[in-house]
């Protein structure tokens, strides 16, 4: 058991090395594109595209789509974050494949059922999706990328996200520990 643990922990990158590498990726994004990393923006592009395709009349009336179209030119799928997120899926898959971590499974604490884990995952996703739109970006786009360019907004969002996580941790401890 101990050996398995040792073996497994070795497979992950040293977190400080991982952090420096992630910082260099973020620096490249700023140097090349003049913007940081992001994730929720790609989901937004898909929703805007879906709305304009499936229900064009509703899209015309939607303040959300209008707001998006005013700030983004052209096809919402031909968007920097959409291409970047496609890369994330490829990069994550490559790392998982090279470390032997590709496996279809529901990851959860042995104290809870898969069903409970999936219900909470869905609820968490809904909240995060909603919050990322209200907060104009998620942990990547608002908090991490914002901090790197010293954006006050980035620091405020980062503190709100992690502060809330810590404040609520006690009530959801059964799911994790």
């Amino acid at each position: 058991m101990n050996e398995i643990k040792k073996d497994r922990s070795k497979k992950y990158l040293n977190p400080y090395l991982g952090g420096v590498l992630l910082g260099l990726v973020l620096l490249s994004a700023n140097f090349i594109a003049g913007r940081g990393l992001g994730a929720s923006g790609a989901v937004k592009s898909v929703i805007v595209t879906a709305t304009t395709t499936v229900a064009p009349s509703a899209a015309e009336k939607s303040g959300f789509v209008k707001e998006y179209m005013e700030s983004h030119k052209g096809n919402p799928m031909k968007n920097w974050l959409v291409f970047q997120m496609a890369g994330v899926i490829v990069g994550g898959f490559l790392s998982g494949a090279l470390s032997g971590r590709l496996k279809l499974k529901v990851e959860h604490s042995p104290k809870i059922t898969s069903r409970r884990r999936l219900i909470f995952a869905l609820a968490g996703g809904i909240l995060f999706g909603f919050g990322s739109q209200l907060g104009r970006g998620c942990t990547s786009g608002a908090a991490l990328s914002g901090m790197a360019v010293l954006s006050l907004g980035g620091f405020v969002t980062m503190m709100a996200i992690f502060g809330t996580g810590f404040a609520l941790a006690y009530f959801f401890r059964k799911n994790w520990i």
């Binding site: 990158l13 090349i32 003049g34 890369g87 968490g124 790197a148 954006s151 907004g153 709100a160 996580g165």
Partner: protein, 196 residues
């Protein structure tokens, strides 16, 4: 010179190609650091695994220092780099809702795609939730617009708001990060846990 795309040194399509490459790097590093596991990510809130704090703050200070040095060397014009605007109310309320999503779901949007890429079904369900959440915001946008647009403050830098130079604030942030890393190492020893 930089940012290359803004200065039209590279075309829009080349920029999109770089976006894909940068995404590969992003996803690779996240997965290799263990961010594809919700139980590792949630560890930061309970002290048994502080990898989120270590990677997140190391990345932030690395990129921040890199940008300041690039600017000093004249390699990048920081005034052309996107700085997130500050709408005080929505930044705080949105952040609080996201924090709730984090502790319930165990992922954030970027890490959920990373988890899904190696087969985590809980991450795929989280992503389904993301789409529902964004769609709900879109559908109710007219109701939330007031909150969304409230208390706009432009795109201020934290260093300006604190009346410091960028470099001095950067130094303070690096020192704060080092202090947090030190605490994180102690916390992990204090709340060890079995294989998960």
């Amino acid at each position: 010179m930089g940012p290359l795309a803004v200065n039209e040194i590279i075309s829009e399509n080349t920029n999109l190609f770089f976006a894909f490459l940068i995404g590969i790097g992003f996803g690779y590093v996240l997965e290799a650091s263990g961010f594809s596991s919700s139980r590792k990510l949630a560890g930061v809130f309970y002290g048994y695994d502080m990898v989120v704090l270590k990677v997140f703050f190391t990345a932030a200070i690395t990129a921040m220092t890199g940008l300041l040095l690039f600017s000093l060397f004249g390699w990048i014009d920081l005034s052309l780099v996107y700085i997130n605007p500050l709408y005080v109310t929505s930044a705080i309320v949105g952040g609080i809702i996201m924090g709730g999503g984090f502790i319930l779901g165990g992922y954030c949007p970027g890490t959920s795609f990373c988890g899904a890429s190696i087969g985590k079904i809980d991450a795929m369900v989280f992503i389904a939730g993301l789409f529902i959440g964004v769609a709900l915001f879109a559908a109710g946008f007219n109701w939330f617009e007031g909150l969304y647009m409230a208390a706009f403050r432009g795109d201020p830098k934290i260093s300006t708001a604190l009346k410091m130079s960028d470099g001095f604030f950067a130094l303070l942030l690096i020192l704060a990060a080092l202090a947090m890393f030190w605490v994180a190492e102690i916390v992990e020893k204090k709340f060890p846990r079995e294989e998960y």
